[in-house]
């Protein structure tokens, strides 16, 4: 179904972090941006679609006035809003937001870090752009910070803090189908496997809590109201977001899942884990039975690699990209 393309080299290797690949497609300029986190550095590559031009940039985690920091970055992801795209970095010290090409930092939010380290680690992790103007970021205390983002400029404000989770947030996702009919806008996941489903607004509203039975959920997506969740046990589960009804359970991987992605136009689902495997599935909604079916489509083994990031490069799922721990390249696959 897919074949391997030429890899993109990156300046330093990928760290073993959940969802360690973010992709931004810029159609008007025939470019795709990729980011991969290495310890306290974010590697950004912009690749032209003709495969001829690559340009690299590295961003370091900053903290206010200090020029460089050894603060480790947990995640980097682009947030696509109607008016602008922002690159968000979450680290042990706080949250940084940059213009989409990484050129200017427009906002910095510091986390409360104690003077002496405590048993509980402090960091931010889990990034999602919601509806027209929100960027939501999770933290190690379980809080979800909701930032209000204006169409232009750096007047970003913290509008709300959602306190439902008690364990560190692992990942967050917003409804990616583009449909305005969906009630649920955001799903957040944590280390206990708890999933919270939200509706955005001036005040975010909690629609549902789906318990996790103490199995960590490391990656989550929301598509046409369906929550796709990947767990540390290697299982993928599909839930109806608002009601919490379980549609399907898949014994998908032999190790901890690190990344899920959905191609919104076709319903293709991508899963990747520490077991070296990337799998492609197909989700189909049957309106008659009001259920979602999942079908396995394809396997790709990235030999001797613990995969830490996997994303589709376009809305149809025609191509996808993969990163692995200790690998200094982004491996790409396109449909045969």
């Amino acid at each position: 179904m897919y074949h391997k393309e030429k890899s993109i080299q990156i300046k330093s290797s990928a760290s073993a972090l959940y969802n360690n690949l973010s992709v931004l497609r810029i159609a008007p300029r025939c470019l795709t941006y990729f980011t991969v986190v290495h310890a306290n550095v974010v590697n950004m590559v912009s690749a032209s679609w003709d495969g001829l031009n690559y340009s690299h940039r590295q961003l370091q985690s900053k903290e206010g006035n200090v020029a460089t920091s050894s603060s480790l970055i947990m995640q980097a992801a682009w947030c696509v809003l109607p008016s602008r795209d922002l690159l968000v970095l979450t680290s042990q010290k706080g949250i940084q937001m940059y213009e989409s090409d990484g050129s200017i930092m427009v906002y910095w939010h510091a986390l409360d870090t104690p003077e002496t380290p405590t048993a509980q680690a402090v960091f931010a992790r889990g990034i999602a752009a919601v509806r027209e103007k929100y960027i939501c970021v999770g933290t190690s205390t379980g809080s979800v910070l909701v930032f209000d983002v204006p169409a232009k400029g750096s007047n970003i404000t913290l509008s709300e803090v959602l306190e439902e989770h008690k364990e560190p947030i692992t990942d967050m996702a917003s409804e990616c189908s583009g449909s305005l009919e969906c009630i649920a806008d955001l799903v957040s996941a944590d280390d206990s496997g708890l999933l919270c489903v939200w509706k955005s607004g001036e005040d975010f509203q909690l629609l549902n809590k789906i318990p996790g039975f103490d199995v960590s959920c490391s990656s989550v997506k929301l598509w046409k109201g369906t929550v796709a969740a990947g767990y540390g046990t290697g299982q993928i589960r599909l839930y109806e977001g608002v009601t919490g009804i379980l549609y399907a359970e898949v014994n998908a991987h032999a190790r901890w899942i690190y990344s899920l992605d959905i191609a919104p136009f076709t319903g293709l689902l991508l899963s990747a884990a520490e077991d070296s495997l990337v799998r492609v599935w197909h989700l189909s909604l049957t309106p008659e039975t009001n259920s979602v079916e999942i079908e396995h489509m394809y396997n790709e083994c990235v030999t001797d690699t613990q995969i830490c990031g996997a994303k589709f490069c376009d809305g149809d799922g025609y191509a996808f990209a993969v990163t692995g721990y200790d690998l200094s390249e982004i491996i790409r696959y396109t449909q045969a």
Partner: protein
């Protein structure tokens, strides 16, 4: 990231170090015609192991180690192990120490990477602890220190969730990032490729709590299973083994962390053929480290627990060589590529001016730019006071 990583890093690396030293001490040529001398060597081997283990499990040292804190820099950790390796009358040349450290780190990197579940890192740690306990089974005083450490490990780590263990594992993997030193014993056993990367099999038992991949179950809105499907998982997996014991005693089940060396399997490392990225990685560690004070505290506690050992005779009978011959050892030191130098901080645990000057210099290295001279900094005061008390 995780503030609970350092004890596991230290104990596992220490365990690997003991396996290697034990193997090398046994392999040292024993003159066949001097039976008496052979006995002496056996006794000394045990003494060396006991001395190192006693230092490793020194109460004050462990107290410092178990405090929640960020991982040490590679430089500081290497220095801790340098001191530990010299906590007895055994002497190692620079090249042998470098090789020892390479082997220790690559072995533990392998164990962390191959752990089926993040929580299994604790079982790996118990494997090392079990072996250490066996090394000192004839010495009750050290045995009680080791038992105390077991209790601390159990108390701190058994309540942690899978997610917290994964964070510990991710922190360790960042520490080991870009290390691809080829280890002969790994290459021979086909667990490492010739490019230095470890083999990750897509076969064997799945971790505890995981099902063999292949089954898809679909449900109706009332919760009934309405459809099942199977898919080809692309591997050759078998059911999970039973879970290992997380108590002081018991079968650990996991083999990672057990002693893979024996007298007949010497180890060599190859320095060539690694990528430029390893040089890139050292850049990450040169940023000023605001937590350096904790590192210095640990070093001080470690030195405080040491008696300065002076070899009673000048012959090199107690020098341990990790290479097959002295010539090889010399050659290894000369030919070691620049990017692999560990930049060890040299500390002498002696009461003299040189020690204070050395420490002043170390504190100077840990200084953030623009701060006043070390003598007036409160950072170093308590450390100096500790040194004066030795």
């Amino acid at each position: 990231m995780s503030s609970r990583t350092l004890p596991l890093l230290f104990i596992n690396l220490g365990g690997e170090m003991l396996y290697i030293l034990d193997q090398r001490l046994r392999a040292q040529n024993i003159p066949a015609d001097k039976a008496k001398k052979a006995d002496w060597l056996e006794e000394d081997r045990k003494r060396v192991m006991n001395d190192i283990i006693t230092t490793m499990f020194n109460k004050k040292f462990l107290e410092e180690l178990f405090k929640p804190q960020e991982l040490y820099s590679k430089k500081a950790l290497r220095t801790v192990f340098d001191r530990l390796a010299h906590a007895s009358i055994m002497r190692l040349n620079q090249a042998s120490m470098d090789k020892l450290y390479d082997l220790m780190t690559m072995a533990f990197k392998y164990q962390v990477l191959l752990c089926p579940r993040p929580k299994d890192i604790l079982l790996v740690s118990f494997n090392h602890m079990d072996a250490i306990k066996d090394f000192v089974r004839d010495t009750p005083s050290i045995l009680s220190q080791v038992d105390e450490t077991y209790r601390q490990l159990i108390e701190i780590y058994t309540p942690l969730s899978a997610g917290e263990f994964q964070l510990i594992r991710q922190t360790l993997l960042i520490f080991f990032q870009d290390m691809h030193i080829r280890v002969s014993i790994f290459l021979k056993d086909k667990v490492q490729n010739s490019n230095g990367r470890f083999v990750l099999p897509t076969s064997g038992p799945v971790p505890c709590g995981t099902q063999i991949p292949g089954l898809i179950r679909m449900f109706s809105c009332t919760g009934e299973e309405v459809k099942r499907a199977q898919f080809r998982n692309g591997g050759n997996y078998t059911s999970a083994l039973r879970e290992g014991s997380f108590e002081m005693f018991g079968e650990r089940v996991i083999k990672l962390g057990t002693n893979m060396y024996s007298v007949s399997r010497p180890v060599e490392t190859h320095m060539s053929g690694t990528s430029k990225n390893s040089a890139q990685h050292t850049k990450v560690n040169t940023a000023p480290n605001p937590l350096a004070k904790e590192e210095l505290n640990l070093l001080a506690k470690l030195m405080g627990g040491l008696e300065v050992q002076r070899p009673s005779n000048t012959d090199s009978g107690f020098r341990v060589n990790l290479f097959a011959t002295d010539e090889e050892e010399e050659e290894a030191l000369i030919s070691r590529p620049e990017e692999f130098s560990y930049e060890v901080i040299n500390i002498q645990a002696t009461k003299d001016k040189q020690a204070s000057a050395e420490l002043q210099k170390i504190m100077g290295e840990f200084q953030e730019a623009g701060e006043p001279a070390p003598s007036s900094s409160s950072k170093g005061d308590d450390l100096l006071a500790m040194m004066d008390g030795l």
